[in-house]
Subunit: 457 residues, 2 copies
């Protein structure tokens, strides 16, 4: 492999390249380090930081000096970022932050201790300081917190030519932009002009004649997930963020939204599995802390389930085959419930369950539970009848299976819906509730039916 290539065929960082960088770092060969790092995109610099050891990370940033693009720190795991921000001198961070677009700057500052954050803000020029403070005052995960405060706003009476001349002359423009905002004197948004529209139009045409007045506005207090849904629905690349007086205060760009979409889906996956807000780079102790509460909940429900089994002590003693078979009914119910629950939780997250569709889904899931119940009742019934040479035992386990599968389908849909109605995140606790119910019903239905059928009570 070419030792000078940054990525290998599998799109990972080339190990030979990385070894070379580490050797230069260890030897303090700053010029070589700069030569290797300078061509990289900030995202690649972030990947390099994650691939090397902690002391090397600091050495790398210090070696790069003012050639280090602080937006690389927005691309690394939170634990790596916080550690580095802790180690770097505040003056150094302030210099780096000042050169960033406001959304990246806020991203770096928002998770710091208030003390450190204020110390860094104090070293910034007044205008940047105020603008960052305003963003940081918006709630976490709101559009206002995520927005970029650099944007281009022009009056409607300008012509296309004037606008282009302005863009050519003005030095203080955002790094990248995709549309121009048309505002009145109090910064109310009158329309937007996508750049391609501006380029297609002749110079004398007035902006108000080409602007798109059907504008999507996002409230700065709105949750970033709501904003993400607007982006997806209307295929946006940039959207205007307005304050409570409908004045333009910033813009959201699609690259931030892509991250939000990812986070949101990931959050659902993690919540359903009972994993907290974890990252691969979290410490062992943080991981234990994030997972233990969920396991504790599971322990409590497992003990509850075991108490239910305890009621049938005497029944099991008379017919030990029941103990051997009972986990099958519970396990099948747990799986069927998880399937329904997953579909429901995701449909709720994607806002796919309006009126008619919700009723349809509830009916469908009950019938699916019933049909799968019949199918697997017959299968397990036959297997059991042969295995224990006992047709009646096969009938009993089949009946219990049908009951538990219907319950699984109902619980899998009704529990997330109920949590949603109660304004809780349906992903967070659905799994515990659903498996507790399918376990309890699974064991109870099977043991009780068997007790009745064989007269064991």
């Amino acid at each position: 492999m070419d030792p000078n290539a940054f990525r290998d065929a599998e799109d990972r960082i080339n190990p030979l390249w990385l070894e070379r960088l580490r050797a230069h770092l260890a030897a303090g060969e700053t010029d070589d380090v700069i030569e290797m790092m300078e061509p990289l995109h900030a995202a690649d610099t972030g990947d390099v930081l994650e691939a090397i050891e902690s002391p090397e990370q600091l050495a790398l940033i210090l070696a790069l000096g003012d050639k280090f693009d602080y937006s690389a720190l927005t691309e690394v795991d939170e634990s790596v970022r916080l550690k580095l921000m802790e180690l770097l001198p505040n003056a150094e961070i302030a210099r780096g932050v000042a050169s960033l677009d406001s959304d990246d700057a806020v991203y770096l500052l928002e998770d710091l201790e208030e003390e450190d954050r204020d110390a860094i803000l104090a070293q910034l020029p007044p205008f940047e300081r105020l603008s960052l403070k305003r963003s940081l005052d918006f709630p976490e995960e709101s559009a206002g917190r995520r927005m970029q405060t650099e944007f281009i706003a022009i009056p409607p009476f300008w012509t296309v030519g004037q606008t282009i001349d302005y863009l050519r002359a003005e030095k203080d423009l955002p790094d990248e932009f995709y549309q121009i905002y048309v505002v009145d004197a109090s910064y109310h948004v009158l329309g937007i002009v996508p750049l391609d529209k501006l380029l297609r139009t002749r110079r004398p045409v007035k902006i108000e004649a080409v602007m798109n007045t059907n504008v999507v506005l996002v409230d700065a207090m709105e949750d970033q997930e709501e904003a993400a849904r607007d982006f997806e629905r209307y295929d946006l690349v940039e959207v205007a963020v307005v304050d409570e007086n409908k004045r333009l205060v910033g813009v959201l760009t699609v690259d931030d939204i892509v991250d939000v979409i990812h986070e949101e889906a990931d959050e659902d996956i993690r919540l359903m599995a009972g994993v907290g807000d974890e990252e691969v780079s979290d410490s062992t102790l943080d991981t234990v802390k994030s997972r233990a509460p969920w396991l504790l909940v599971n322990l409590v429900t497992a003990v509850l389930v075991s108490i239910v089994i305890g009621f049938f002590n005497a029944t099991i003693e008379q017919m030990v085959a029941l103990a051997v078979l009972m986990p099958i009914v519970a396990s099948m119910g747990g799986n069927a419930g998880a399937q329904t629950m997953t579909v429901t939780v995701r449909a709720l997250a994607m806002r796919e369950l309006e009126g008619r569709r919700m009723r349809r889904l509830i009916t469908r899931e009950m019938i699916v539970g019933f049909l799968n119940g019949i199918i697997f009742a017959v299968l397990i019934g036959i297997v059991t009848a042969f295995r224990f040479a006992n047709v009646e035992l096969g009938v009993v386990i089949g009946l219990a299976m049908v009951i538990n599968m219907i319950v699984a389908g109902s619980a899998g849909i009704l529990i997330p819906l109920a949590l949603h109605k109660l304004k809780a995140d349906p992903a967070i606790a659905s799994a515990v509730f659903v498996t507790t119910i399918t376990d309890v019903v699974g064991f109870f239905a099977f043991l009780a039916l068997a007790g009745l059928w064989f007269g064991l009570f």
Copy 2:
């Protein structure tokens, strides 16, 4: 609520508005239907289609006639789309498809039966037909299948002024575009010019002087997920797609990629829960078909687990408390395993596990399993000792718990990694393998330890 507002406060379609539309549809008042629908964005039209009954959907499209934007059909569930495409006359579809950008056109055509698709293609103008056929020849879920074949390519020796004049004069431009591609005579990409760059630069400047030559190229055969990762990593809005000779054949835009990112995360969630490629609007029978195979696999493993329990028939008969307690150990292992597995599957999907990080994660998960094992061993040990007034039984269940939690941590990480090495999707079968292992080990460890400790064999 204002009956004329399209959406209510919760961002759902206003039920009053919808009732009005349905009444107009039922009465055949085409003009009123058009008046209500015309201001809507295609995405909102899609939402309306999903909110009304199947015969109304067809009536709505026919009522709108050539005012119906076929890109609305890209916004509805696959089952709704396929049914409508089935019902609409091919000539009508051909007319609608001809007015779409190629990526949307391909999206509508790709899932049709080959016969229907060819019938529609036959009615398109030759140039569109060939271009769509070429896209459809690329594999499903490849960049070539997803790309838009409309893009703007110019030579490097043009000036900024010439380029702007060209954009003003040319009528046949893509609907929306964010950057311009600079190519040589054989369509090899030399660079890109973002539109903001074009607007900031004075007319006499040569394009080759302003173009960005550090260009990300996506191979048309590449999987769309790979392309999505490039978008995320480098914060792109548009990327060039090239054929095997590195010639520019199309572009991918971020709105398509947002959908890919969503699909990808959703796929992981569904695969882990054993739900196929389902939609909320799928029929009951399709749902049963998609879920039954996974439940069958679960049935087989559950029977396997039950056979393991069967080995301890005699042990359980002598001490029925074992049957009451045994599901606790298995259930805790299953949960802990699911936690580790989820973290691993997502880290693999996001390419977060390179060399050093993978070894770190494996070590961490083993230690987390051990620590959580200790914590919950002590808890369940105490509970059991009191409940059954039997300290030794508490010790036995505690030991089994530690063993199963360590096994859960190891299985949760090693199984997805192994599947990944074998080029299988780690999400698809990890859950079955992991819970089978934690069930078997959970029941076996507890029953065997108890048998040995209390001399029940």
